[in-house]
């Protein structure tokens, strides 16, 4: 999923300075799962913004709405009846959702309430960790299902580097060495011999190196 965290309240307050009517829009997908921008977080932020405004001797007219998916035009359309009645939209979706709302409603200010972080997985309640960088040319089949691009600080294709100690990365003892994990997994799978297969230099054009990407599925267009 795409993970995100709420921006500091002061930053959000600053962005809506001068606005009296706010449409606070959450998303029912990834940001709900990582407890950053679902219905619950929308309600909490609305209450916080209201109280922060009240402290300054003002009140806000805040509408709360959580869309099924803020990155899809069909769902963003649901905002239409509200748009003319607000001064700004504050989006609690990932950057994709914010941009979709901004694209649809060209004359409306749209401000992000979240910082989009990474594509990750849950390691336990309240813990999310980066797992994928969307390089566009998955090599997990070569590395025992552990991604060295997302999980090695140096994105080494043939690791580990000299900074790996007792299975931990030199950047922090809290970070596992991806190549150590790969070795352990290959041992479990009984394919240690493949560890020394040299992975060729990666063609980064399939990733961000090739500029903004797009998928076109002729059968669905």
């Amino acid at each position: 999923m795409i993970t995100a965290e709420r921006k500091p309240l002061d930053e959000i307050m600053e962005s809506i300075d001068g606005c009296g009517r706010i449409l606070l829009v959450g998303c029912n997908e990834c940001v709900t799962v990582c407890a950053a921008g679902g219905r619950k977080e929308v309600a909490l932020l609305a209450s916080a913004l209201q109280m922060a405004s009240m402290k300054k001797g003002r009140t806000l007219d805040i509408r709360e709405l959580t869309l099924e998916r803020q990155c899809d035009p069909e769902y963003v359309e649901e905002l239409t009846p509200h748009i003319d009645q607000v001064d700004a939209v504050v989006s609690m979706a990932c950057g994709c959702g914010v941009q979709e709302v901004a694209r649809r409603f060209k004359k409306t200010h749209v401000y992000p309430a979240l910082n989009t972080k990474f594509m990750g997985a849950s390691e336990g309640p309240g813990i999310w960790a980066e797992r994928c960088q969307g390089c566009g040319d998955c090599l997990l089949g070569l590395t025992g299902g552990i991604c060295p691009i997302a999980r090695c600080a140096k994105r080494l294709m043939n690791g580990p580097c000299g900074g790996s100690t007792n299975g931990k990365c030199e950047i922090s003892n809290d970070v596992d060495c991806a190549w150590h994990l790969i070795w352990e997994r290959m041992k479990e799978l009984g394919i240690e011999d493949r560890y020394e297969d040299v992975i060729a230099a990666k063609d980064w054009r399939t990733g961000r190196g090739g500029g903004p990407r797009k998928i076109l599925r002729e059968d669905l267009v």
Partner: protein
């Protein structure tokens, strides 16, 4: 100057604090009428939004009262409630509301005396802190 009388909302677990408040009454113990009790099936039912709405709607302080640790009727609702209250504290500070205005307390159903004591002490603490800054701001707005 008229003394500030705080409004305290106490979310009380049905299995402990609510009964303790009842017992305080049976024991003829006095506690400040500032404390408004909301009975909940378990302190674990209390979500951050309930506390936020209480503050937004004018409470000066909020108590979340659950069972003694290890005694929750639903196993660990009181532990979850404490986690939520603790997690809410920095958020309140961000808003500019003192974290001390929201407190988790634990007691058993038989602790009528403890309920009365907590209600008294917390009311006093909130009285010292003064009105909830959000409410105070809204009052200034209404007066202007």
């Amino acid at each position: 100057m008229e003394q500030f009388e705080p409004t305290i909302v106490a979310f009380c677990c049905h299995y402990c604090a609510y009964t303790a408040a009842d017992m305080a009454g049976s024991m003829r113990l006095e506690y400040p009428p500032n404390v408004k009790i909301i009975r909940v099936p378990c302190s674990g039912r209390v979500d951050a939004i309930h506390i936020m709405k209480a503050l937004e709607k004018g409470a000066d302080g909020v108590l979340v009262a659950g069972c003694l640790e290890g005694d929750c009727h639903f196993k660990n609702g009181n532990v979850k409630a404490l986690q939520r209250v603790t997690a809410l504290h920095p958020f309140l500070e961000e808003i500019g509301i003192e974290a001390e205005r929201v407190q988790m307390v634990n007691m058993s159903a038989g602790m009528g005396g403890r309920f009365a004591q907590i209600a008294t002490e917390f009311t006093e603490k909130i009285r010292e802190l003064g009105p909830n800054p959000a409410k105070a701001g809204a009052s200034r707005l209404a007066a202007s």
